[in-house]
């Protein structure tokens, strides 16, 4: 359900940029999605297809998703590690004072236009 609102936002932003650039049709949209952002790519793709049918400028517009790897840094020992297998506990020193460096992104990277 979350993905529905996100798709509306992406769609509105892309249409706005396309209009500013006098573009008639958008061929593809590239998103950068963090590995631990709360958005599920498969749901996004389904809703995107549905959305593109109702927005003429986006008819048959391809959605390209680039995943950004999730990395956490430990505030106590200063080391970084992969977030997904380890979670919030630092595998090096056992500290829980850690913060996400990358992995929560949800960006529109670029659009390809005709």
């Amino acid at each position: 359900m979350h993905e529905l609102g996100v798709v509306f936002r992406v769609s509105d932003s892309v249409v706005k940029v396309a209009e500013q650039n006098n573009v008639q049709r958008v061929h593809s949209v590239t998103l950068e999605i963090g590995q631990v952002s709360t958005v599920i790519p498969e749901y996004l793709e389904d809703i995107w297809k549905w959305n593109c049918k109702r927005v003429p400028m986006l008819n048959d517009c391809e959605l390209i998703i680039e995943q950004i790897h999730a990395i956490t840094r430990c505030e106590d020992c200063g080391k970084t590690y992969d977030t997904v297998p380890q979670g919030i506990t630092c595998p090096y020193c056992g500290s829980e004072h850690t913060f996400l460096v990358t992995g929560n992104e949800f960006n529109i990277k670029e659009i390809a236009v005709e």
Partner: protein, 224 residues
Amino acid sequence: MDSYRIIQLKQSVFADNDADADLLRREMKEKGAFLINLMSSPGSGKTTTLTKLIAALKDELSIGVMEADIDSDVDADTISATGVKVIQLHTGGMCHLDADMTRQGIRQLGIEGLDLVILENVGNLVCPAEFDTGAALNMMILSVPEGHDKPLKYPLVFQVCNAMIINKTDVLPYFDFDMEKVSKFARMRNPNIEIFPISAKTGDGIDALAAWLKQQVKKWKEQE
């Protein structure tokens, strides 16, 4: 290969909403109405807590409430019995409110003369936390039966909230809910979070929460 032109955007999808939320915060400041965004999972006792809070605050503050749900108006009905101004917002299937939807709600509610507007967000610990509504204060309720591990499982909502209300403390004897652990887990994600244990049913702890809220509204009104 087709020759397509690439337009670089590098725009956060949430950036538009964040800018809109900041604008709404300024608009609310000009009008002098303090907006609280109240979040929690379904069934944590948002509406019951609100009715108790309203009773404790309404002599001093003029209050309006916006109830957001996917459907129905059961919550708005309950709140209207307290005598404050209330509207029901339907999100039409969406799992959260964003700043623009909040602004539309505020317009419908009409905030002339109100000191405090409370937005009861859709019952959900995930999505509402991702979208800044433009509120001056974010608050969440975690109820005892949900378990003390929730700050570990849904970190973002604890990170964005100024206060965590722990509701249903009257049933603590029946659950393995650890008050110390829940505080520790929440503060790991947000060292500044205020914690208020309450029982909306018995009224326990409501006074402390109401006093803190009054103080927040006062501080905010005095700010430039």
